[in-house]
Amino acid sequence: MNKTDVLIIGAGPTGLFCAHQLGIIGLSCEIVDNLDKAGGQCIELYPDKPIYDIPAVPECTGEELTNNLLQQIKPFNVKFHLNERVEELKKVENRWHVKTSGKQEFDVASIVIAGGVGSFEPRKFPLKECEKFEGSSLFYSIKDKTVFKDKTITIFGGGDSALDWAIELSNTSKVNLIHRRDGFSGAESSVQKVKELEDQGKLNLYTKYQIDSVLGDKNINIVKIKHDEGEVKEFKTDYVLGFFGLIMQLGPILDWGLNINKKTVEVNTENFETNVDGIFAIGDICSYPGKLKLILSGFHEGALAARGCFKYAKPNEKLRFEFTTTSKAAQERLGVKK
């Protein structure tokens, strides 16, 4: 059991800055995120795209913003739990117990949901029958590539993941790469490599085809693909891989008894607490009259939510408002050397 004052769900800019604000007022926190790195949408959707509306930062990329925030919270040694999605929530006396997908457990005084538009999950094939093969002969990500050795692998997608895995696996497996059009969104060098491999007969490339059906008993043994013009091809395959990027889904938070409206969580604007005492929501995931989905709004919401958490973490203490420029306590927490 991880015991801390506050659990922050989501390591995007809003969650990271909230950790800073908690640290400044002397509360501890840990952060859970379903992605494998901090940064949220900034890293996953637009790491290289410039952002122009962070106050006092005329221009920065999603990656730079994330790195700066990580730098800013360094003094607080915040513990991150990545690749973990929150699942269960239980009230135990005055505390909350939270369990994650990776069976991590947390005992916290309050929770700040900074979950953006939801946790990032792989996009799946549109076919219902794909579900039954998921995890055995159909995958949306690769954990152990050795299982594919000497097998036939059929890969769908046209982005970097699809191209990179097609290239990598063509060394040890028979690879079919299928994409819905002639153009690819992945790196040009990878597209060239794939075409070379095709010319050398080391990989089969089918464009303007999409998945039509998968057949098999326990495991997939046949995949059918359909051309734009309607022609259907089928071939034997041991594995099917789909790389269609990530989609954001609210997931188990939907079942936590929060007031949810259009995929957002309703909060008050005094401290961004939800209808459930001790659970706060900040950033893109929260809604209130006048809500703007800007990073700067998320920072403001995080600062107020952090102070809202104080009474749950330290019910017998009073929080004094202080500036970091003059507060000795805050500077000690920041590790400022004089």
Binding site: Q41, V117, G118, P126, G159, D228, I247, Q249
Partner: protein
């Protein structure tokens, strides 16, 4: 102003007057038309405002920017007449546009 018709997957037809300058996506979201998620808020970064455009309109729409086709690769069941509705800005020329909303966005 343009009248935009959204056919939703439950076989309902919603015809809405959408102001010039808004996108077809915004017209749907602001009028609570179901089936357009627009998770990224119009940034061409998520493919959850995917629509199928009626064929007679395909050539009359602004051409796709580079990133749109890349994003459509990620959409649920993309077809030849797929567009991202966040990339279709409403103008008088779009009066009468008909778009069909897919059964799912993901």
């Amino acid at each position: 102003m343009a009248k935009i018709t959204y056919n939703t997957h439950d076989n309902k037809t919603h015809t809405i007057e959408v102001q010039n300058g808004l996108t077809v996506m915004e017209g749907a979201v602001q009028n609570d038309i179901p089936g357009i998620d627009a998770d990224c808020g119009g940034g061409m970064a998520c493919a959850t405002c995917h629509v199928y455009v009626n064929d007679e309109w395909l050539d009359k729409l602004p051409t796709k920017e580079d990133g749109e086709e890349d994003m459509l690769d990620m959409a649920f069941e993309p077809k030849q007449n797929s567009r991202l509705s966040c990339q279709l800005t409403v103008s008088d020329e779009l009066d009468g546009l008909v778009v069909n909303i897919p059964s799912k966005q993901a």
